[in-house]
Point group: C2
Chain length 243, copies 2
Amino acid sequence: MNQRQTVAERGGAGRTGKNGEGAERHEEIHRSISDAIIEHRLRPGARLREDALAEVFGISRTGIRKILQRLALEQLVTLTPRRGASVTRPTAEEAKDVFDARQMIECGLMPEIALRITDDDLRELRDMARRERQALKSGEQSTAIRLSADFHARLARISGNATLADFVERLCSRSSLILAVYGNPGHLGCESHDHDDLIGFLEAGNGERAQAFMGRHLKAIEASLSIVEEEAEAPDLHRIFSD
Amino acid sequence: MNQRQTVAERGGAGRTGKNGEGAERHEEIHRSISDAIIEHRLRPGARLREDALAEVFGISRTGIRKILQRLALEQLVTLTPRRGASVTRPTAEEAKDVFDARQMIECGLMPEIALRITDDDLRELRDMARRERQALKSGEQSTAIRLSADFHARLARISGNATLADFVERLCSRSSLILAVYGNPGHLGCESHDHDDLIGFLEAGNGERAQAFMGRHLKAIEASLSIVEEEAEAPDLHRIFSD
DNA sequence: GGCCGTCGATATGTATACAATGATCGCGTA
DNA sequence: TACGCGATCATTGTATACATATCGACGGCC
């Protein structure tokens, strides 16, 4: 079964630029899977079989495993020892932790961002916000969710602190997973005009108000979640044995 | 050369409990390498050849690669595409970012920690601080450095926010690398009594003072560094061409 | 009729073999 | 003597083969 390799790869392009672009190809595949998860095209709990992925992307399992491990470290997928990979299903506790962390970091970054933001940044952010509104209006919820995460990540990047920006990026990805599990269908995380308002404060150089606004923004997202621990899987036995 | 496998592994124990303990074994190796880096037994820039590591730990390159990739994501080692792995040499900019991040997160966590800290926590922290002082006194600088990082990580864990605690743990590991590059030999990062003082504030439930103290503590460490971009590698040419 | 044990299929974990690339060293020539 | 060039070697990147554990289903047994 795993012998059936994708037709195109073997002969031509697959071999040709193999090594130089190998790393970039992996990067690309990582992004593909990552995006699919963030956009909820792969729902939490979905299994990610190595063979299937290897066939889809036309590389061998070795490369897929590497990517899956990276995704696991980013906590987008969960690697169960003999069971393989699946899209992470965040717990209620993780959800709380993630939003607390975002509250601390993203808000804390605002003053610095207000100081350093440039006209180019403002233009780009406005464009992202516009595209996000547009996606929401045309019902492309997947795209809107990803753009929203991108917006927050891009914002953090302006602070100049790459380490914290990486943290924020990962927190936003995980937030997207959390929305998939605990979000209400109609109600997307970010209000459509919030991001524009935030841009306004930053343009005015008002770090304090931006910080406060971001705080409310995140609280609003968190409040919109229906966090009820489902625990549908091993329903009663654990409770019985915990007595 | 790579044929010389470690004597013990092949026949007996290596094969026996192979799978069940495989994951734990990897965890163990990860810790071994990680500790060696944090304790400066592996200095920044040191090359980590896959074959050599595979031989030392008695597993094949496959497992080693997995571990190296994880270390790379934690930014303790750097993976250069065709050159292999080496211990990361943090740049001055990264050093600043890491300490700014620690300032934000560790300080921000203090109030919550002061609220949640238990007697058991206090006892354990005091023990760690004591062992750290002791290691310093007996000149075991490697041990002292690791214990200091452990202390900060353990502290963060008390906050109950696993996500932020993970961040702090990684920041502390990287700080250890930074100390290896920019630290002054005689002057260890943390003053020996600082941690005890901090414990005092936390025991008193005084989150505010603990926060302020942690701020000064981290600033003091940062200030003790000699951050001068060495750039010993391509020494003069760049400067010439920048004219 | 329901439950337990066993068998087969499927997928992962690990090791090894092969290929490609960058580095190092030696040689020839100016 | 120093520089450029070429070959060999060391080391990583990738794929594949084999071993092993888990899950589902079927059949026998109580």
